[in-house]
Amino acid sequence: MSDFPYLPHTERDIDEMMNYLNIKDINELYQDVPQLFNKDLNLPSSLSELEVKEKLFDLSDFNKNIQEFGIFRGAGVYNHYIPTVVYSIASNRNFLTAYTPYQAEVSQGTLQILFEYQTLICELTGMEVANSSMYDGASALAEAILMAKRINGRNKVLISDLIHPEYYEVTKTYIEAQDIELIEIIHNHQTAQIDIQDLKNKISKEVSCVVVSYPNFFGVIEDLQEIRENVPEDIILIVSTYPISLGLLESPGCFGVDIVVGEGQSLGNLPSFGGPGLGFFASKEKYIRKMPGRIIGETVDKDGKRGFVMVLQTREQHIRRERSTSNICSNQAHNALLASIYLNVMGEKGLKEVALQCYHKAHYLANKLLETDKFEMVYQGPFFNEFVMKSKIDPVYMNKKLIEQRYFGPLPLKKFFPQKGDQILFSVTELNKKRDIDFLCSFLEGLS
C-alpha cells in the first residue's frame, strides 16, 4: 500500500507488473547498475503535508517581506502593482503543467500566448521581431552580444560601465570562451550618461557591438539618438532596458537600435527574491535567423484554420546541436504569460500612467530629500525612477534604522562600487505612497 499521495502503485499493481516482467525484486531492474546504492540517502524522512506546510510557513515567516515592509530599492528588481487578475489567470494548471509545445495541435494555448507575447514585446521595444523568452535580463544581454558576433563576425564589445553590474558579470562569464573582448565605455561624471567622446574614441572596425542600458544602472536616461548617430550602422547597437520606463520613454526601436533586451520581471512578475524573472529579447527582422531562443510563428492547419507552431527550429540545439544559435531549451514561458496578461490588462494607457507615476514620485522624493540637507544629487542627467544621492548618513546605518521602521531603504552603491561608500541608489514606483515618502524624508532628516 502506497503512503505517498503522488504515487499510484498499490501492492497489487506492483506485484502484477513484477510478475509480468518476471522479476521478484525491483532491484532486478537495476542489475546493470554497478555500485548499487544500498544505504538510505542522508535526507529527512517523508513528512506529511501539514508538517511540510508548517516548515515552509516558518521559513517564509522568518523573512521580512516587502508586502509588510515599504521599499525604496530597485536596481533591477522592482515592486510594481500587479493586477489581481494576472496571477489568478496564470495559476491555471493547464498553463502550469504543460511543457514546450512539441505537439502544436494540443498546445495552441501555449503557442498563441507566446505569439501574442512576442507581439507585445515588439510593440514595447519598437522592434520587428522578438523571441518567446530568455532566462533573465542578464543572460539575454549576454546572448545578444554573442548574436552580434554571429552577425558581423567581429569580436570587440564596447559596453557602458553603467550596465547593471550583475549583467556585466554574466556577460563576462558567457563570453569567456568566445574570443570576445569587453571594453568599457565610461560615463560622463556630470550626467552619468555615456561619455560620447569615449565611445567615439573606441569605435573601430573590430567592434562588433555597442551595449548601453536605457535607463542605466544609476537611473539616468541615455540619449539613444546621439548614441546611434555615433555608432556606425555595421556595428550592432544593443540596448538593455527596464520595460516599465518604456511607458514614458521613446522605444529603442525608434532610434535604430538593433537588439533590445531586458529583464521583464517588472511586467506582472512578483519580485520573488530575483527569480524566476523573464529575459526578453527583440531585434530587427533581418537578424531573426541569428537570434537565440524559441520563436513562435503563425500558420494554418490543413483546413486553412489559423494556428501557431514553433518556427526556425533548425537554429536550435535539438536539431543543430553544436552549431545552434544558443543552447537554450527550457525558457521562462510562464513568466512571459504573466508579462502578457499584465500588458494586456494595463494597455497603453495603464503602462503610461504607471511610468508617469514612477517618474513623478521619484522626482518628488528626490526634491524632498534635497530639502533635508542630508543628501546631494550626484548626477545631473535626466532620470526615470531611480537616482543616486550622496548621503551624509552612513548608508548601512541608515538602512538598519529604516528596517526598524519597516522600510527597506536605498541600495548602498558600495555593494557594487567599493569607492562609492557614501552613495545610495533610490528607487520609487507607483506603489510608494506619498505618506511613505514623506515619512522617509522626515525620518532621515531626523537621523544622525
Binding site: D32, E105, V170, E176, P271, G274, C329, H334, G350, I403
Partner: protein, 486 residues
C-alpha cells in the same frame, strides 16, 4: 480563436490605479526621448482578458489532463503543495538585495536544498544559480574550462558527447568554447567503449554523459568510462535530465562524475510552465568548488546564513541574483514531502513503469534497444513505413485518443524514434489504457493508414503547416487596418 489584439476596442480598460498622490513635476527629459510612438496594445476589459485566457487554457494539453510521456522531460505530477509553498509572501515578496538578516528563511531553504541535492547526487558542492538544464550544462562546462586552464591544460579543447546525447550537450560544450567530438553508441545503445578509447586523448577536456542515457539505458560501463576519462585528465560530466531513474539507487558522484547538473523541473516535480521556468543546479566534486558561480549560500559559525561572494576563482555569474528561487522552493517542498524513502520509491516505480510499458509494447512494436531500461525507452517506428505512414502520423493519431505523444525523432540514432517516459506518477490502469491505444492505432496504421495521415481529427486545430510557417515567417501580429490608417 481570435488574438487578444483582434478583440481590442478603443477606450476599453481593464486596469485601475490610485490617483497620483504627489504633485506633478515637469518632465525633465529631452523631448526626443519621450515616447511619441503609439503602443498598439489591446484595449480590453477584465472579463474579456479572463475569458481569453480561459479559452487558451482549454486548448492546452497538460499533466493535469493526463498521460504526458515526453521522453527525457519527466512530465511527472506537479503537486499543488509546491505551488502553495511558492506563493507564500515571505518568498514571493522578497527583494534580492534585502539585508542578510531579513532573508534568513530564504537562505536557510537554499542552504538545505544545496545539501539535499549534493547528497542525492553524491557530490560535494553545488550552485543553485542556473535557470535551466542547458544553463546548468553551460555552467558546468565553463567550470571545467576554467579548471583546466588554471591547471595548465589549455590544450584540452575537445568534449566527447555520445551520438545519443541531448542536443543541448553539444550546444553547451560549444558555447563553452569546446570542440565537440561524437562517440558512437554500440549495439546495446551504450557508449561504444572501443570508439571512446579511440577518441579520448590528451586534448580531451571532458566526456558528457546522460545516465541512464536518452535510450533509457544505464551505462553499465560507467566505472570504466570514468577511468578512461580520468586517466586522460579529462573530466566526466553528468547530464541530470534522466536522474529520475536513479534517486537513492545510484549516485553519479559515486560513479566518478566530476560535474553534475540537475533539472529541478523534471526530477523534482516543479511544473514545466509551458516551457519554463526551470532550474538547473550544478554540483561538483570538492576540487571544483572554487570554480562555482558566485554567490553560494553558506553558514556562519553563529548559525547565520549568508551569500558567499568570496570565490576568487569562480567562473563568475551565469545569471543575475540567485537563480529561479521560487522553483527552488517548489523542489525543496517536494523533497520534504517525499523524503529519502519517497524519492527512492519514485525512481523505482518510474523504472518499473517504463519496463512494464516497454515489455507490453514490445509485443507489437520494435524496441530500439530491447535490454533492460530505466525510466524511459525508445520505440522504432520504421515498420510504419510499410503501411505508408510514419512516426509523426502515428503520434498525431494518439492525440485523438486523448493521450500525449512521446518525444519523437529523438534520439537521432534511432530511425523514426518514439521516446517514452511514463514517470512514476502514472498508474497501471493508465499504462494499460495507453498500451491499448498504441495497439489500436497500429491496427489503424495497417488497415486504414489514411486515418493516421489525416490525424489528428479531434483537436482544436488539425495538422498544422510547418513549412508555410517557416517560409512566410509571421512571428507577430500586425494590425493591417491600423497600419493602413497610420
Amino acid at each position: 480563436m481570435k488574438l487578444i489584439f483582434e478583440k481590442s476596442s478603443k477606450g476599453r480598460t481593464a486596469y485601475t490605479l490610485p490617483k497620483l498622490d504627489v504633485p506633478e513635476s515637469n518632465i525633465d527629459i529631452p523631448t526626443h526621448l519621450i515616447r511619441k510612438t503609439h503602443l498598439n496594445f489591446p484595449e480590453v476589459y477584465e472579463t474579456e482578458v479572463v475569458r481569453h485566457y480561459n479559452e487558451l487554457a482549454s486548448l492546452n494539453y497538460s499533466v493535469d489532463r493526463g498521460f504526458y510521456p515526453l521522453g527525457s522531460c519527466t512530465m511527472k505530477y506537479n503537486p499543488v503543495l509546491n505551488e502553495e509553498a511558492a506563493s507564500l509572501e515571505g518568498f514571493k515578496m522578497l527583494h534580492p538585495y534585502q539585508e542578510e538578516e531579513t532573508i534568513q528563511g530564504a537562505l536557510e531553504l537554499m542552504y538545505e536544498l544545496q545539501n539535499f541535492l549534493v547528497e542525492i547526487t553524491g557530490m560535494d558542492n553545488i550552485t543553485l544559480q542556473p535557470a535551466a538544464g542547458a544553463h546548468g550544462e553551460l555552467t558546468g562546462m565553463l567550470i571545467i574550462r576554467k579548471y583546466l586552464h588554471d591547471n595548465n591544460f589549455n590544450h584540452k579543447n575537445e568534449v566527447i558527447v555520445p551520438d545519443s546525447a541531448h542536443g543541448t550537450n553539444p550546444a553547451s560544450a560549444a558555447m563553452a568554447g569546446f570542440k565537440v567530438i561524437e562517440v558512437k553508441s554500440n549495439s546495446e545503445g551504450r557508449v561504444d567503449l572501443k570508439n571512446l578509447k579511440e577518441l579520448v586523448n590528451e586534448n580531451t577536456a571532458a566526456i558528457m554523459l546522460t545516465n541512464p542515457n536518452t535510450l533509457g539505458i544505464f551505462e553499465k560501463d560507467i566505472l570504466e568510462i570514468s577511468q578512461i576519462a580520468h586517466q586522460n585528465n579529462a573530466l566526466l560530466y553528468y547530464d541530470g535530465a534522466n536522474l529520475n531513474a536513479i534517486m537513492g539507487k545510484s549516485r553519479p558522484g559515486d560513479n566518478g562524475f566530476d560535474v553534475v547538473h540537475l533539472n529541478l523541473h523534471k526530477t523534482f516535480s516543479t511544473p514545466h510552465g509551458m516551457g519554463g521556468p526551470g532550474s538547473g543546479p550544478v554540483a561538483v566534486k570538492s576540487y571544483l568548488k572554487a570554480y562555482l558561480p558566485k554567490p553560494i549560500v553558506s553558514r556562519r559559525e553563529n548559525g547565520m546564513y549568508f551569500f558567499d561572494y568570496n570565490i576568487p576563482k569562480s567562473i563568475g555569474r551565469v545569471r543575475s541574483f540567485y537563480g529561479n528561487f521560487l522553483v527552488l522552493v517548489k523542489a525543496y517542498t517536494y523533497i520534504l514531502s517525499m523524503g529519502k524513502e519517497g524519492l527512492k520509491k519514485a525512481s523505482e516505480l518510474a523504472t518499473l513503469n517504463a519496463n512494464y510499458l516497454k515489455e507490453k509494447l514490445s509485443k507489437s512494436f520494435e524496441i530500439a534497444y530491447s535490454s533492460l531500461c530505466k525510466h524511459e525507452f525508445v520505440l522504432k517506428g520504421t515498420m510504419l513505413k510499410n503501411y505508408g505512414v510514419n512516426t509523426l502520423d502515428f503520434v498525431k493519431r494518439l492525440l485523438d485518443y486523448g493521450i500525449h505523444p512521446p518525444t519523437i525523432y529523438f534520439p537521432l540514432i534511432v530511425d523514426e524514434a518514439m521516446m517514452i517516459e511514463p514517470t512514476e506518477t502514472e498508474s497501471k490502469e493508465t499504462l494499460d489504457f495507453v498500451i491499448d491505444v498504441y495497439e489500436k492505432v497500429l491496427d489503424e496504421a495497417i488497415n486504414s493508414p489514411e486515418v493516421l495521415k489525416e490525424a489528428p481529427h479531434s483537436t482544436p486545430v488539425k495538422r498544422l503547416d510547418e513549412v508555410k510557417a517557416n517560409k512566410e515567417l509571421k512571428v507577430r501580429y500586425i494590425n493591417n487596418e491600423e497600419q493602413g490608417l497610420d
